[in-house]
Amino acid sequence: MLHFHWRWIQDYSGGQLTDWAGHHIDIAHWGLGFDQAAPISIEGKGVYPTEGIYNVPVEYVMEAEYENGLKMTIANARYFKDKRKHGLWPKIGAVRYGMGPVWYGEKGWIQVNRSGLWASNPELLKIPEKDLKIKIYHSTDHWQNFLDCIKTREKTIAPAEVAHNSISVALIGEIAMLTGEKLKWDSKNELFTNSEYANRLLSRPFRAPWEMPKI
């Protein structure tokens, strides 16, 4: 219980969603060049258990919209399997390979997760790095990368601000699932612009005498 299962209790965690969203949304953003970009709106629905003590959603789906019109759907894998079964995931391919981001573009789709890399057309994966239009940050070891950057003063591959931006999508999604509304998000001021209910859920009041330190 202590090491692992605390995460199924809303007081401590958002469950599987926030467990994995940090990883997958982070990569999704990286692929989109969205390290600093955040959604402008988000809505979602979750299924919450009622027996026992675990009370985080076991199934969930949320839709985030970004300023450039991009729509990101974040859901547990079963959601996409079901959509494919009922023919509701036409034209734009299907999620076949477990977790991970799937980018859909004009030429097809690409998916990646810890097990591998797939594409609608394998030729897409064969483009040599020198022919790509963007420069890829190379790091195969987070610890080494951190130590190197102490010396070089370069940014690490996953700086704190970027990580914050990635997990924030899951956290505002979690709030959207709790209030059931379609929320409009002002990422600059980190506030919802259309729901007092949602704004209240952005933080938890500290029990006196504890308070958030001012940095």
């Binding site: 919450y48 258990p49 027996e51 026992g52 709790l178 209240r200 029990r207």
Partner: protein, 416 residues
């Protein structure tokens, strides 16, 4: 109604008397109309012998049907196994739906014929759990139930019917005995016909309580629709197939609803029949069998994939009941009623009117002497995001009690 209108038009009495008569006729029409709307369907449970615990199950089935407010229920208990069955002749035709909780000795020929006539002419039937083990030799019965198991059924009884892992419906004529199940376990029920009136509005998948997952059923399966299946996991000694769990069969003008779940045996708590999905589909399936339609409204709390939802009183909860039961919450006891309340609040989708209603009930609970501090603390948490100004005075009162002051302050800080 047409006759009443004629009476009014042709009356040549003085105005006062005419008005009196108009009022009387109107009242009579109203009472006839409301009588029609309140008339319940008549259900008959047939039981008395079973390889399961029929003494408990038929009582449970009666409770479940009565709790739907759609049925009056009578029970016909057969003679015991081995005794003289010749007088066993329930009056099927007097009922709208016959619920079978019977497997045992053969019925007398006349009774069987009467049952066939009843169903052929539009009677409704619910085949419950082990009732699909009954009468392997009675051809018409096996056509009615669609699929059956055990008691000598094999490839001569008809094909295995199941869905494979590619969502294809398979009719499998290979040899093999009919009927098996692994050890009892919780399993996911998945809808195949989500638009069918019996299951419309239910989640596409939900977790069913611990129960027997009937597999390898065989039968003629004519005019049969599978409403829902369950994957029989080989890890639970299952077949690896998606086995039929809920089915409908048309036989003549009759409608049959077949549910394989709801095992009742020697266990202390009959969890399988307490399962909300079992209860809901039985209530709705019985109405469909009786009339071909389902007019019952769905309850506010539905079965879900997160946990097997049990209803120990075989009845869905009203919001009042949830708040009442939540009052006694202590750490270590089930948070169920509070979680169900939170679910309902989430379903309000941020509608201020609906949330205001929940807020009022929460405030009422916070002010009551018989609600535990743990209950109040949980509700303060909920109130902290969906409450309004009107909560502040009640929350300020809770500051005075050291057991609730932390959560009251939590809510006050968020609401200001």
């Amino acid at each position: 109604m047409g006759n009443a209108k004629d009476l009014i038009i042709n009356y040549k009495l003085l105005p006062m008397k005419r008005i009196f008569h108009l009022i009387v006729i109107a009242l009579l029409s109203l009472s006839v109309l409301s009588g029609c709307q309140n008339k319940k369907l008549k259900a008959l449970i047939v039981t008395g012998q079973n390889n399961h615990n029929w003494e408990d199950s038929h009582v449970i089935l009666k409770k479940i049907l009565e709790n739907s407010d759609a049925f009056t229920v009578e029970t016909s208990i057969s003679p015991a196994k081995g005794e003289d069955m010749s007088s066993f002749a329930p009056d099927f035709l007097a009922f709208d739906v016959v619920v079978l909780d019977y497997n045992g000795d053969e019925w007398p020929e006349n009774t069987k014929k009467n049952f066939e006539v009843y169903v052929k002419n539009g009677g409704g039937v619910v085949v419950y759990h082990a009732s699909d083990n009954s009468f392997p030799e009675w051809k018409e019965y096996n056509e009615m139930i669609g699929l059956g198991g055990w008691y000598g059924r094999d490839e001569k009884s008809g094909p295995f019917i199941y869905y494979n892992n590619h969502n294809e419906l398979i009719r499998d004529n290979s040899e093999g005995k009919a009927g098996s199940h692994g050890p009892q376990h919780e399993f996911v029920i998945e809808l195949r016909e989500p638009e069918h009136p019996i299951v419309k509005g239910l989640p596409k998948r939900w977790l069913h309580s611990q129960d027997e997952l009937y597999s390898n059923l065989r039968g003629p399966a004519k005019n049969m629709t599978i409403l829902a299946t369950s994957y029989a996991d080989p890890k639970q000694k299952g077949t690896g197939r998606h086995e039929p769990i809920l089915m409908t069969i048309n036989y003549g003008k009759g409608r049959i609803f077949h549910t394989v779940i709801g095992h009742v045996g020697g266990e202390k708590v009959h969890y399988a029949t307490q399962d909300a999905g079992f209860i809901l589909t039985l209530q709705r399936g019985a109405e469909w069998a009786a009339t071909g339609e389902v007019k019952q409204q769905l309850p506010a709390d539905l079965p879900n994939i997160g946990s097997a939802f049990l209803l120990p009183n075989y009845k869905f909860y009203t919001l009042d009941e949830l708040f009442n039961k939540a009052k006694s919450f202590e750490y270590g006891k089930a948070q169920k009623y509070l979680y169900l309340i939170s679910n309902r609040i989430r379903e309000a989708d941020g509608d201020p009117k609906k949330l205001s209603g929940y807020e009022n009930r929460i405030l009422s609970t916070l002010q009551s002497d018989d609600a535990t501090n743990e209950c109040k603390n949980y509700l303060c948490r909920e109130l902290s995001w969906m409450g309004s100004e009107k909560s502040l005075s009640v929350l300020n009162e809770l500051l005075k009690n050291p057991e609730t002051s932390d959560m009251a302050q939590f809510a006050i800080t968020r609401l200001q």
